[in-house]
């Protein structure tokens, strides 16, 4: 094993090349104001069948409840330790939608997670207008599978956290200084065109992606 490592690296090192020029890196930004960014983000998301709702600090729980009901969701998987989790416990508990906290290691409730969850909600670390992408950094409180297993995934997004490009988001948020265990860009519901180039949604991940934008 180490022998292979040595052999491969030795062969690569044996090739001497003239130093190429220094790579001129650049951050790709667009001069878009917040409205333009929201607009562009929403257009891109709609183009891939994600649902975008503009809501507000006071009404998002209500809006969420309405959307979930219209989709027939009976329960909602959420992150109890997050700020939005607390709000949900206060405001959604009487709605008839069962709130299910993701507070156990996946091994301890895999089957229930896979088979019984109708919907989930997460926050996000921002979004990208150019491509219509959400930035998620799952963590202890908001685990990775929240955004993958239930067929409906709802996301809270603050409008001021929309960046023009991926390159700008990485730069401003300083990603290179410390990445999480898992970082994700999510740009729509799960899809595939593997059968005869026909688009089908909800292959393995969520079939619906619902985004609630709070100004």
């Amino acid at each position: 094993m180490n022998e292979s490592r040595r052999q491969i690296l030795d062969r690569l090192r044996a090739v001497s090349r003239e130093e190429g020029g220094v790579l001129q890196r650049r951050v790709d930004r667009r001069v878009w104001n917040q409205d333009e960014k929201v607009q562009r983000f929403a257009e891109c998301m709609s183009a891939v069948r994600a649902e975008v709702y503009r809501t507000s600090e006071v009404s998002w729980v209500n809006d969420l409840q309405r959307i979930l009901k219209s989709k027939g969701a009976g329960n909602l998987l959420y992150a109890p330790a997050k700020a939005h989790g607390k709000l949900l416990r206060e405001d959604l508990s009487s709605s008839g939608i069962e709130l299910v906290p993701y507070d156990l290691e996946v091994e301890r409730w895999k089957r229930r997670l896979f088979e019984q969850m109708d919907a989930s909600i997460t926050g996000c670390r921002g979004a990208i207008a150019e491509t219509g992408s959400l930035i998620l950094w799952p963590d202890e409180d908001e685990p990775r599978l929240l955004s993958l297993i239930p067929p409906i995934h709802c996301v809270l997004l603050r409008a001021e956290q929309i960046y023009s490009t991926f390159s700008e988001a990485i730069d401003i948020q300083g990603w290179a200084d410390g990445m999480p265990t898992n970082a994700l860009l999510i740009s729509g519901p799960s899809k595939s065109a593997d059968i005869a180039q026909v688009l089908a949604y909800g292959v393995h991940g969520p079939k619906s992606l619902v985004i609630l934008i709070i100004p």
Binding site: M1, S4, R5, I8, L9, R11, L12, R13, A14, V15, R17, G20, L23, R25, V27, D28, V48, Y102, D103, L104, E105, V106, F114, T131, G132, S133, D139, E140, P143, R144, L145, L148, T165, S167, D171, W175, A176, M179, T181, N182, A183, L184, L185, I186, S187, P189, S190, K191, S192, A193, D194, I195, A196, Q197, V198, G202, V203, H204, G205, P206
Partner: protein, 470 residues
């Protein structure tokens, strides 16, 4: 052409339905790509940038690999190195064995196809299930991918419907794409839950942060790398880039060139295994770095450009040869233009050198390649490598395609062309006796007329018009 490739070509050309299907698929991919690159100048600028990023990474490849490895170890990812596919397979197997793995799920990975990993592991009694919908379909059919991005591209909806019906007789027949997809989802969900391990490929490795990046639309890649307790990634040593900032431009080039999407549904960046307090993610992450001929390709200054490839498949989608043959006729893991430069170098010219000849040199591949690999030039170079005899250079099988009759013909031509008087006589007599020249020129004239020689040589016609050769 050798037996295998020849038979593949004959078979593919005889399949009208396949050809029509491919033409439609390729036309739509070409149109989609065009639509997401509306600004030609911006596209060219981005391609130059993509080329510079990959070129920069290759220019420091050994240093970047070491840096990447060091960061991975800090992050808790175990890095393994393999010279050959056999070694890579054994490495994967040993890891699986030490975790007593019986069943695993796989995300799409061309390197694992290169390794023949499924075959290897199944012979050892480990169930390997492909979870990418396209890979799942061809695994059911017992086939190999016919395209590096869309593995089941060659299959029509009806063929897939029949295949599902045959394999899962309990489920009612349907050729509705949504229903077929739902069937696969149901079967695979169960498998994700039960799997002891997940195997994936990688699109980019970031040296600066020690991160594995995966690009996908379905979510099966995320499933395979998140749900099972063990994740093993396999990839080629060339996949590394220097900095995180290099990723956004490459990602944009990759998805737009591949399927005409501004971005894929998921871009998954993995830094390490589950941390204390985290509730999901694998307990262990391993990465196998495969050489399999790449370091030899690296040694040739011109051919090294092959390693810039980000596996977008655009060269394939734009190739007139691929569009007529499909991927299986090539008989290799990587088909189309990228395969025709990569495979002969990996496998040796004596075995696959003919692939470099399976090109009209129309140039479409080089024009669309997002990292500006001069594919036609490299095809030509490999043709030359196949016949040169000076014994320098790195490409294995050099000179093995040289044919005595061909080299004799070229020698005769060059001696004729360097003697003007003789040359003129030869051309004149060819014109005069043109009707007596043979009409059967081997395979060329099986389906075509032999070329006709003009009554007068071009030189005379030009002189009549009063042009001189200055």
């Amino acid at each position: 052409m050798s037996g295998e490739f020849h038979d593949g070509v004959v078979k593919a050309l005889g399949d009208d339905a396949l050809r029509q299907h491919l033409r439609r698929a390729m036309d739509s991919l070409i149109a989609k790509r065009l639509a997401v690159f509306p600004d030609q100048d911006a596209l060219q600028e981005l391609r130059r940038y993509g080329m510079a990023i990959r070129g920069n990474a290759l220019s420091k490849l050994p240093q970047l690999l070491e840096r990447f490895e060091a960061r991975c170890e800090e992050n808790g990812i175990h890095v393994h190195w393999a010279e050959t596919t056999d070694e890579a397979n054994k490495t994967v197997f040993e890891i699986l064995q030490s975790h007593d793995v019986k069943r695993l799920v796989k995300g799409k990975s061309m390197v694992s196809e290169e390794m023949g990993l499924n075959h290897f592991l199944e012979a050892k009694g480990i169930e390997c299930l492909e979870s990418d919908l396209g890979e799942f379909i061809i695994q059911l059919a017992g086939e190999t991918p016919s395209h590096i991005v869309m593995p089941a591209l060659h299959k029509s909806k009806q063929e897939i419907a029949e295949l599902f019906h045959e394999k899962f007789p309990d489920i009612p027949y349907s050729d509705d794409v949504d229903e077929l997809t739902a069937v696969a989802r149901g079967i695979l969900r169960e498998k994700f839950m039960q799997a002891d391990a997940g195997i994936s490929g990688v699109n980019f490795l970031i040296a600066e942060t020690g991160t594995l990046c995966l690009v996908e639309n379905e979510g099966n890649g995320r499933m395979s790398t998140t749900v099972p307790p063990l994740h093993i990634a396999v990839t080629g040593i060339e996949k590394v880039v220097e900095e995180l900032a290099d990723v956004p431009p490459l990602l944009s080039l990759l998805t737009r060139s591949a399927t005409g999407q501004p971005i894929t549904t998921y871009f998954n960046m993995i830094k390490g295994p589950r941390q204390p307090g985290e509730k999901d993610g694998p307990q262990e992450v391993h990465l196998v770095l495969l050489d399999n001929g790449r370091s030899r390709i690296f040694a040739d200054e011109e051919l090294q450009a092959t390693l810039r490839c980000i596996r977008c498949g655009a060269c394939i989608n734009h190739c007139p040869i691929y569009t007529r043959l499909g991927g299986h006729a090539y008989g290799t893991v990587y088909p189309g233009p990228i395969g025709s430069i990569l495979e002969p170098q990996k496998e040796g010219l004596e075995r696959l050198g003919e692939l470099a000849e399976a090109s009209t040199l129309c140039g479409a591949c080089g024009e669309v390649c997002p990292v500006r690999i001069p594919i036609p030039k490299l095809l030509n170079r490999l043709r030359w490598e196949g016949v040169r005899r000076d014994g320098t250079g790195e490409t294995s099988g050099q000179g093995r395609r040289r044919k005595h009759s061909e080299s004799l013909a070229w020698k005769a031509w060059s001696s004729l062309a360097s003697r003007p008087a003789l040359y003129r006589i030869a051309v004149k007599s060819a014109c005069r006796f043109r009707r007596m020249l043979p009409q059967q020129l081997g395979p060329w004239t099986h389906v075509r007329k032999a070329p006709e020689i003009a009554e007068k040589p071009l030189r005379e016609l030009v002189e009549v018009q009063g042009l001189t050769d200055e």
